[in-house]
Each structure stands twice: as C-alpha cells, then as structure tokens.
Symmetry: C2
C-alpha cells in the first residue's frame, strides 16, 4: 500500500507530458528569472498549474512546494509535502526540445517517500522509493554495481567545475571524467542506471527532491558538499552518489575547501 | 549518383552496430592508451577490423585512416580516403553502454564527400553530404535556423573549458551554456538538429571528419580555433559551428588567446 495512489500520479504525469509535447509546436513565451540564462516559459508555469490542480483535488490537505511563482517556499517539511519541478532542464527544453524532465516527489515529515522523474521525449518514467522499489516504466530495476570515484563518470555543474568551487576540479580529476547535461533529472537517472557514479551541482529543492527519494531507495546519499542534510529551503551545493563514492567526494571537499 | 554505394555502407554500419550490441553482454577487454582515461576495448578494434574488411573488399584501391592501431596515420589526403572511428565515445561505451557512435567518412582529395554518424543504441543514423543532402535514417532533414553565440548552447570539451584554454571560458560565458557529452558524434548530431549552435573540442581526424562532411552540407564550418584548415594528421583544437556563430567564436579566440 503506497502513501498515495501511484497509478493516479502516473496518469497525471502522462497528461502533463502530453500537454508539453503538444506545446512544442506553439511559440513559447520565454522570460528571464535571476539572469539571462535562467529561463522560464509559459509551459513551465502551465504544467505546474496542471499538476497542482490534480494534487489539490485529491489531496486537499497536503502542502505543495513547486519551482514556479507562488509555490517556491514552504514553512516546514512537516506533514506530507508534494514537490514539483514542472520542467527540469528548461534551457534544454527551449534550445533542444528534448533532454528535460517532469519531476514530482512525495515527502512525509522531511523523508522522501516517492520520486517520479519523467523523461518526456524518451517516454521513460523512473519512479519509486524505499518501500515501493525503483521502476523504469513498468519494469523494476535494481541498484547498479558499486564503484569507486576513480572508476566512473560524474555529472557536474559546469560553473562549479569551471570556477573550481570548493576544489571541484580535484574531484572531477579523480574520476574517469565529467559530463554536463543541464538537467538534474537526467543526472539522477544516470545514477540509477549506473551510467554515472556521482553528481555534483547547485540545486533547489525541486531539482533534487524527486531524484533523492529514488536514489535513497538504492542506499545512495544526497547531501551538501560537507555531507550534511539538505535544507529544502534554498538553492545549495549538492552531491549525490553511491555510498562509497559519496564518502570519497565529501572527504575530498572537506579537505580541499574553505568551509 | 553517389561516389560510393551508400546503401551498402549503411548495411556495413548496421552489421557493425549489431556486432557491438551483442558484445555488450560479454566481458570487455579494456586497455589504456595515452593515459588512464583514454581507453580502448577489443570491441573498438574488432569493429574497425570489420569495417576495414568491408571497405577493402569493395574498394581495394582506396586509402583508410582509422582510430585504432595500424591505420592511424596516412601519407596524404590525396585520392579517396575512408576515415573510420569504430566507437566514438569509448568512455561512454564502457561506462554507460550508450551515448557512443560508429562514424565513417569518405573524403576525396581532402574534401568531405559523405559522412555517417550512427548512434547505435538509439538506432539513429545521420548520413549525407553536400551532394546527397543530410538524412536522419530515411528522412531528409534541413539546416536549423541560424542563431547567434549569445542565443544557443555549445558542446564543449571539459578540459578546455576547465583550464580556460585560449580563453575558452569567455566563449562559454558568451553562449547560453555548455554541455559535455563525451562523444564528438553526438555533438555533431546536436549541431545538425540545431540543439547546439557550436562545438569546441580537441579532436583527432576520425573524431571530426564524419561530422565535418555532414555539417558542411548545411554550410557550417569546422576549423582550428584560428579558423584555419584542419590538418588531418594529428589531434588538434577544433571548432565547428553555424557560419555566424563560427565567426564569432573564432574572432573571440583570436582576440583572447596567445596564438
């Protein structure tokens, strides 16, 4: 018995995905948020609205935290909280019309219960949690083989790597290489599949919560660079990885950095 | 009338792709080449051998330049030359079992006539040239809308960006952002689709020749960072882009760098 009706949530995500796909032929209204490369479109906002309406109709007492205006702060993570990123990877959505995801998480008293990452254009939904297991569409998947930092690829935030934030380059250089996708959801999927062994970025709660609920089901960790609990109240430096790799990365950050 | 039998080449690539796919369940023999992150596998070598045998049987007088041992230098680009990258993105092949390509080019007296980039796991073959047109599988595609450096995404080599080679960071910062895929073929496909507007890297002839023949069919340019002709005889810094974007990037490199 899930804490929410998973099949219903999957239907909402499908509907949201269909809405986004049909919108691709329309002219997007693109606005800048904090700077010229931080974009939001009318489709981000309308998709969030669509999902909020669904949630509120069925779960009227639940709290909602979402990327777009009106829902992007929350008093606390107490109780049941839905966390929405209507289009994760908006830059990719605008520039590539692919490589973006719809993401949704259900948390209870600060603990990730269910995560959903829907790669819309590939029609691949990764969903699940600690109790449910982890699924790619209808198929349950198992955790990848454990690896070491020196033996795998890392997803990395380009700015953090380029500016060597808290010694990021040493961590990148200790791995087999970095990849930059511009989409937190795709990076979390890469962890679930074992394509990448870690992910270092600068993320807001809606960017990390859905993937966090999923990777924790495999025993992976998502924390600050110091290995501390994420705040869920602002953008912050973030590392997610397999347990051994997570420890290696956090130890290197602690050693290198000026925390 | 093509200079070679395109349908036959497509069959070779399909056969090579099938060989690689069936090999994914076997244990790979992985060797390091120039350093610990420069890998080659037995499958790279066997795929090159498969393609060389096909070419030599039908075109015994043609020259062959290929990534793996025995074929990686050539006296000159005179006459007809086949250029092979059996697995472009070997690191991705080893770590991800996806996001790699088989690539093939046909050059005549130094001019790219036909390029083939086969994204094996997505089963997408981009092929064509100036005379043939450009195709995704059986469907002809047309050049994307022209853009400006400030308006699009760049594929970028992580090392060049991180070390700010010849002022790479200024170019990255002038764009809408960078992406790092670890696969030249996927970057060239991103240019053909208009997902990215330029690509800056450090490439060997087999990495750039197939994509070059394809993007030139759209009037795009592939040159050194100074805008000069590529040598086809060693790894060198490389920029490929839509014409206006190419000019912007080359001018910035010339202004910034210590050439």
């Amino acid at each position: 018995m899930q804490i929410v009706n998973v099949e219903e949530v999957k239907n909402w995500l499908n509907e949201a995905g269909e809405f986004i796909k049909t919108s691709l032929s329309d002219t997007l209204e693109i606005k800048e948020k904090s700077n010229r490369t931080d974009l939001v479109t009318n489709i981000d906002e309308e998709t969030q609205q669509l999902l909020i309406q669904k949630i509120q109709r069925v779960y009227p007492d639940d709290k909602i935290l979402g990327e777009e205006t009106g829902y992007n702060t929350i008093d606390s993570m107490d109780g049941r909280v839905w966390i929405i990123d209507p289009i994760d990877g908006t830059m990719n959505f605008v520039m590539e019309q692919e490589n973006f995801c719809i993401m949704l998480a259900v948390f209870e008293d600060g603990v990730g219960k269910l995560g959903f990452i829907y790669d819309v254009m590939r029609d691949e939904l990764y969903w699940g949690g600690k109790e449910a297991g982890v699924f790619r569409n209808e198929e349950e998947i198992s955790a990848p083989q454990p690896s070491k930092l020196s033996e795998g690829l890392l997803g990395f935030n380009a700015y953090m790597f380029g500016e060597n934030i808290h010694g990021s380059k040493d961590i990148a250089n200790a791995s087999m290489g970095i990849r930059v996708s511009g989409c937190a959801g795709l990076e979390m999927i890469a962890l679930l599949k074992g394509n990448h062994i870690g992910y270092v970025s600068n993320l807001a709660p809606w960017d990390y919560a859905p993937g966090m609920a999923l990777i924790e089901a495999f025993g992976f960790h998502a924390t600050t660079l110091k290995g501390e609990k994420l705040s869920f109240d602002e953008r912050e430096y973030f590392v997610a990885a397999q347990p051994e790799v997570h420890q290696e990365i956090v130890e290197m950050f602690k050693k290198n950095s000026s925390f």
